[in-house]
Structure formats: C-alpha cells, structure tokens
C-alpha cells in the first residue's frame, strides 16, 4: 500500500492498479498449500516460512510496482489497496509475525517503488503507523475465534468491522503524521484520510476473503463436483459479468458511472449460485476490471470517490449474500449427509435382521436334520450288529433299516421345505389384486381348515391392485390361517372361526391384511419371541412359519405383528406398502 495519501502539490502519488491473472496464480501457488505441509515438516518450518515471507513481500511489492507503473498524471487517487488485503489475510492466517511483513513491505515500497521524498525517520514512522493497527486488528480477530474459512456471516462481519476499525485508526495516524511534517503544505487532510479509509477497506473486503478462501480451498473437490453442469455455468456467469462490465464501460465513456447498478446482477447471481467463493471471485474480477477502466480512460477526483462508494456497497452486498448462501448450502449438505447416514444405518439394521433370520434358520435346519440323522445312524448301526451276530437276527435288522429309511426321508423333507423357501426368498413381483389373492388363498387352505371343523371366511373391502409376489403372500396368509385353525382344533373349540380380510389404508398408502380367529390366544412369553426362528408353541412345529412370514413381509417393505393375542379374538396383521420399490 505505502502512503497513498495524495499530496496535490507534489503530484507524484501513484494510484494503484489492476494485476493480471498470472499474478493471481502466483498467489495461489505461494499461499494456498502451507497449512498441511507445515505440520509435516515442523523441523524444516523456519526456512519454508522464510520462503513464504519472501514470496509475500515480493507479491506486495509487485502490487505496489504495478500501481506505480500504471500511474497516470493528474489524477492522484487511490481507488483501492489490494496489497494490503493480501497481507491482512496473511496476518489472520499466520499471526502477528506477518506484521513485520507489512512493516517491511511499506518501507521497501516507499524506497524502491514510490521513490519517496520522506526522510528515513518519517518512512519508518509511516510504516509503523500502518503495520501496528492492522496487526492488532488481525490478532483481535484470531482471539475472537473467527473462522478463517469465513463460513458464517459472523466471521465476515468480524472481518469487515475489524478491517474498518483498523483502516480508520491508520488513516487518522497518517493524517496526524502528515500534519506534524513541516515540509508538507496545503494538505486536504480530511478528504485524504477518508479516501484512504475507503481505499483500504475495498482492498480488504475484496482481497482478504479471496486469499483466505484460496488458502483453505481444496481443489480436488472441484473435480468431484457434478462435472457436466458446473463449467458451462461458470462460463455463463463470466459472460454475464463481462456484459455488465461492458455496459458500465460504455456508459463510462461519458466520464461517469451511470449504469453501475447493473453490476449487482452478476455479482448477486454468482453469490447465489456459488456462495461466498462465487462472490469473492466475481468481486475481484469486477474490481480489477473497473480499476483498469479508470486507468485507461482517466477520471476526475469526483468520479473516483463515487466509484469507491459504489464499489464498497457492491462488495458488502456480494459478500453478505455470498456468505448467507454458503451457510445455507453447508446446512443443506449437512442435512443430506445426516440423511445418508440414517439411510445407511437403516440398511445395516435390515441387513443385520436378515442375517439373524438366516443364521437362525441355519440353526433350525441343523436341529431338524440332526434328529433324523441321529435316529437313522443308531438304527443302521444296530442293524449292522444284528446282521453280524451268529445267528443274524434278520427280521429285527430289517425292521430297523425300514425305520432308518423313514428317518432319512424325514430329513429330506425338511431340506426340501427349506430349499423351497430359500429359492423363493427373493420376491418375484407382479400385479396382484386383493380379492383374487384372498379368494385363491382360501381355496388352497379350505380343505385343511374344514377338516378341523373350523369355519373360514374371506373379505376384501375393495379390489386394490398392487405389486407383490403372489405366491409368497399366499404363503404368509396360508401359514397364519393354518396356525389359527390348528390352535382352534388343538383347544377343542366348538364353533371355530378364521376370518381373512384386506383393507386399504392411507398415509402411507398400504394394504393391511388381517387374519383373526376365536382360538385360545397366544401365550405371553411366546408372544415376544414368536417371529424368531426355532421358537414354537407346537409339538410338531419347525418354529419356522412365523419367521418366514416376517421375512416375506419385510422383503415386500411391510411389517407383520400380533395385533391381539387374547383368547377368543386373536388377530395377526401385516401391511404391504403400495409405493414400495420393486425388489428388496
């Protein structure tokens, strides 16, 4: 920055100017990656830090030099101060040590670039007056727990307020110094001080957020963005910005900013679409373009003041809209991540439940196979002994072998039933109507139920068609009806009755099947474990019927439960959602 207060009498106070994109790339290369690398090489940190300091100093001086190079005679103004913005960002990132950087930068700029006519004492005093308040402001922000990534509105407000306070203190200090200097005559100290504040503030509000964001940018993430849409959109935004700048430039030919407000459109658009980063980038581009415009066409002091004011408003608007949008985007991302986590957890739970079912079935299978195997082996071993005896007991051996065959057939039957279920473990969806489903199922079990002198009836309020595996749902209903009829006949209930019905329910859209009976009810201790494999209340049961029912219903996205277990009005219910996905 240097002392950019204008001295109309001296006439050699260079304004600052734009810098091209290659310089911006150097900013990125020099400052973006340090944080991570530092931690790895703490021992080598000092040389690296020195290199970075040298690079920052060089950058600062090149800003000053560019300003000086593009100075145009007669208009000694300071539209903005990008070098200060960069150093201020480093003060926030690297801490108060960078204050020395600012101090050295100002001194060197005065000496090398501006070719000052101040004495050394004055140069050092000016440098200290500038460096101290900014260093203190940055340190205060660090203690205020400002997020350096500027993710919240609070952080941006702290940055802007702290920057403003420091800029005001600096300009007052410089004005005081200049008043004290007897060499300087006829100074419009008031106006100069105000212009200095605004110029510094624009530099801070445009460059500091940009550098802070770049320092924390993870460029790898850019590539992961949904590729197709992003690049064209960025180009569209750049084109819009270009058009707005062109309109402003055309109107500027008259020497005034007639259509400056047009710039709000691309800036706000960039902020809305790309959040804080979009706003920072668009603001920096706009700022460089407009300063270039001022240098090209020249402007009087009034125009510069107007430009500064407009730019400050534009910058504040862009940054605040940007950070708001970023906050919202971040919240959206967090919500999405949370939703995904929840979904994953649900899937895991379902997986675990399925695994429990499968391992439970394996255990049940082992038991069901083991029993006949044990019997068959013992019988065959006894037959072997009987045949080896002298004389062999042929009738007894033959009888034992016959019983062994029955046992092996029994084991085969268990395996076949299990295989039938496993083969149909995945539902094969087709369109099923509730009326047809109930009618067909009742037809299948009527014989079995009536043999037990139990009355069976079916009812469907309306004929709803839905996607399901018909055979599997039939299996569920058959199982429930069979259990009910068996319980009724086992308890010797005279006027036994089983009723199957389907009901369409909403929110969520689903069909609820009910199987009610007037049997002996369900024992409370069995109720808790009835859907787990191997638990059975029957003497001859496998303990697999209800677990298989539950597995089928769950594979359809529904659930099954015992609605009522009291004797006389026992009722099982299960639901099948209507909008469930095709397949588990």
């Amino acid at each position: 920055m240097g002392v950019r207060v204008h001295f109309p009498s001296a006439g050699i106070f260079p304004p600052e100017t734009s810098l091209d994109t290659s310089v911006r790339h150097r900013i990125v290369d020099a400052f973006a990656p340090p944080a991570g690398r530092f931690r790895f090489a703490l021992a080598a940190a000092l040389p690296l830090r020195l290199v970075q300091f040298a690079a920052a100093l060089g950058l600062y001086l090149s800003f000053e030099w560019l300003s000086f190079l593009h100075e145009f005679e007669g208009v000694p103004v300071t539209p903005w101060n990008p070098g200060l913005g960069v150093i201020f960002a480093l003060l926030i990132l690297w801490g108060p040590r960078s204050g020395l950087l600012l101090f050295a930068g100002v001194v060197l700029a005065e000496w090398l670039v501006v070719d000052t006519r101040f004495g050394w004492g004055m140069v050092l005093a000016v440098a200290a007056t500038i460096a101290l308040p900014y260093t203190l402001a940055a340190a205060a922000m660090r203690t205020l727990d400002m997020d350096r990534r500027l993710q919240r509105l609070r952080d941006v407000v702290i940055l802007l307020l702290g920057g403003t306070a420091a800029a005001v203190v600096v300009s007052l200090g410089l004005a005081g110094l200049l008043v004290l200097d007897p060499q300087i005559e006829r100074i419009e100290i008031g106006g100069a001080a105000l212009q200095l504040v605004v110029g510094d503030l624009i530099g801070l509000s445009v460059m500091t957020p940009l550098v802070l964001r770049l320092a924390h940018a993870r460029f790898a993430e850019l590539r992961e963005l949904p590729g197709s849409g992003v690049l064209p959109e960025i180009l569209a935004h750049l084109a819009a910005l270009g058009i707005a700048l062109w309109i402003v430039a055309r109107a500027f030919l008259g020497g005034e900013f007639h259509y400056f407000h047009v710039l709000f459109i691309p800036i706000v658009a960039a902020a809305v679409r790309f959040g804080f980063d979009g706003a920072c980038t668009a603001l920096a581009l706009t700022q460089f373009a407009l300063v270039g415009l001022l240098h090209l066409y020249g402007a009087d002091i009034g125009v510069f003041t107007e430009f500064q004011t407009l730019m400050l408003v534009l910058t504040a608007t862009g940054l605040i809209v940007g950070v708001e949008v970023s906050e919202r985007m971040r919240a959206d991302r967090l919500v999405k991540a949370a939703e995904k986590t929840l979904q994953d957890m649900r899937a895991n739970a379902a997986q675990a439940a399925r695994f429990t079912l499968v391992s439970g079935m394996a255990s049940a299978l082992a038991h069901e196979i083991n029993q006949p195997m044990t019997a068959a082996r013992a019988l065959m071993r006894s037959a072997q002994v009987l045949l080896e005896a002298e004389p062999p007991d042929l009738p007894r051996a033959g009888s034992n072998l016959g019983t062994a065959i029955v046992q092996i057939d029994h084991a085969g039957g268990v395996l076949r039933r299990m295989r039938d279920f496993l083969r149909r473990g995945r539902p094969h969806f087709s369109t099923v109507g509730t009326r047809e489903l109930i009618a067909d199922t009742l037809l299948l079990c009527r014989h079995d139920v009536q043999a037990r002198h139990v009355h069976l009836e079916g009812m469907s309020e309306d004929d709803t068609h839905f996607a399901a595996d018909k055979v599997q749902l039939q299996q569920v209903i058959l199982n429930l009806v069979h259990n009910a009829a068996e319980a009724i006949s086992g308890a010797h209930i005279a006027s036994g009755r089983v009723r199957v019905s389907a009901h369409r329910l909403s929110e969520p859209e689903r069909i609820e099947f009910r199987v009610a009976d007037n049997g002996p009810g369900i024992a409370q201790d069995y109720e808790e474990r009835m859907f787990e494999p191997l638990n059975t209340s029957k003497h001859e049961g496998l303990g697999l019927g209800l677990p298989i029912c539950a597995a089928i219903v769950e594979a359809h996205g529904g659930r099954i439960w015992l609605h009522n277990g009291t004797p006389g009005s026992t009722e099982f219910r299960f639901t099948i959602p209507l909008d469930q996905p095709q397949g588990p």
Partner: protein
C-alpha cells in the same frame, strides 16, 4: 448295603420319540439293558433311588433341559453318571454340562463308539465308587464292634504309642494292653499295625464324607 449284582441299566431320555427309540434299540443290540423316557421329569419319577447304570440324555428338551437334569440328579443324590448328547453342541454348553457334573458331552448325530466308551467309563466309575463305599461301610461296621476301651487303645496304637506308653497313660498293665491289641487286630481283621493305620485313615475319610 446296595447289591452291586443288579444289572446296570441305560436310561435314554429324548423328547423326540424316533431318536430315543433308535438309541435304545442300538444300545439294546449292543447288550445293554435299556429304558427310555420322553423327558427329564418322567425319568426322575420312574427311576428307583437304588438304580445303577448310566443316563444318556438330550440337552435341548422342553420342560427340563439336560443340564438342569444333571443338577437335579445331583440334588436328589442319584449317583448315576449322565452322558449328554446335543445337536447344538457349542463350547459354552459343553462347559456348562461338564461343570454341572455330566460324565461326557457328545454331538448329534451320535457316533456309537464314543457313546459306548463314555457309557462304560461312567459305569466303571460308578462301580468303583460303589465298591469303595462298600468297603468303607464294612470297615465302619467292624470299628463299631470295638468296645470303648478297645477304641481308645486303637486310637493310641495308630497314633504310634508303644504298649508300655499306652499302659501308663490308661493306667492299666502292659499285659492288658497287649491283650486289647490282639482283640482289636482280630475284630478289625488287620494283619499288622500298618493295616490298622491305613484303616484308621479310611475311617476318618468315611466319617468326614
């Protein structure tokens, strides 16, 4: 004194009829006397307290599982060895079974060789136990035939006192002590003082058990 002559019986317990029938048939063909029961309580109700033999029981049964059965037999003082068989054999179950006092733990489907080995081991152990109990009981009976004075002398003899020392302590003549010693040796059927000492150890064990 229980008669060890009664033939040992194998008690097969399984809730599934086919299994207990088949195991019973096999063990019967092997030459064992077999009785089958559908459950632990049915067995406890049907078995006589003096029964000798071995129990072969399933673990997973309704009402009372095999491990509970082992504990219940111990509680009732039934000294029958119990071999457990299970289709769901896992380490915790086997540990629980052995801790409860089961003779062995065999997986279903049962291989007859280890089953028969376990049964024979159990029968042998029960037999040894029984004969040891029998000889202890015999010894106690002999000891009880001694008079009060003879018991005092017995205790001092096995404690290592000489006849002279015993006579002095009991304030009787050495000759009388010698005659007591002869009576004790005869009643206890001991050939030497060494045998008497061993008998006294056995007696102590019998009275403590």
């Amino acid at each position: 004194m229980p008669a060890p002559s009664s033939r040992p019986t194998i008690f097969v317990i399984d809730d599934q009829e086919s299994v207990r029938h088949a195991l019973g048939e096999m063990l019967g063909v092997f030459g064992f006397t077999v009785e089958t029961f559908p459950s632990g309580p049915a067995f406890l109700e049907g078995v006589s307290p003096e029964a000798s033999g071995c129990v072969v029981s399933d673990v997973r049964m309704p009402e009372m599982d095999g491990i509970e059965l082992v504990r219940e037999c111990a509680r009732r003082g039934l000294s029958l060895p119990i071999v457990l068989i299970s289709g769901h054999a896992d380490v915790p179950m086997a540990v629980a079974a052995i801790k409860a006092g089961a003779e062995d733990f065999i997986e279903k489907p049962v291989d007859d060789a280890p089953l028969v080995a376990a049964i024979n081991r159990g029968l042998m152990r029960a037999q040894e136990e029984r004969s040891r109990t029998a000889s202890q009981e015999q010894l106690v009976a002999r000891y009880e035939r001694l008079t009060q004075r003879q018991r005092e002398v017995f205790d001092m003899v096995v404690a290592g006192y000489t006849s002279h020392a015993i006579a002095e302590t009991l304030e009787i003549s050495t000759r009388t002590v010698e005659s007591y010693r002869a009576q004790i040796m005869e009643k206890m059927q001991a050939e030497s003082v060494a045998v008497l000492v061993r008998q006294s150890v056995e007696l102590e064990r019998a009275s403590s058990s």
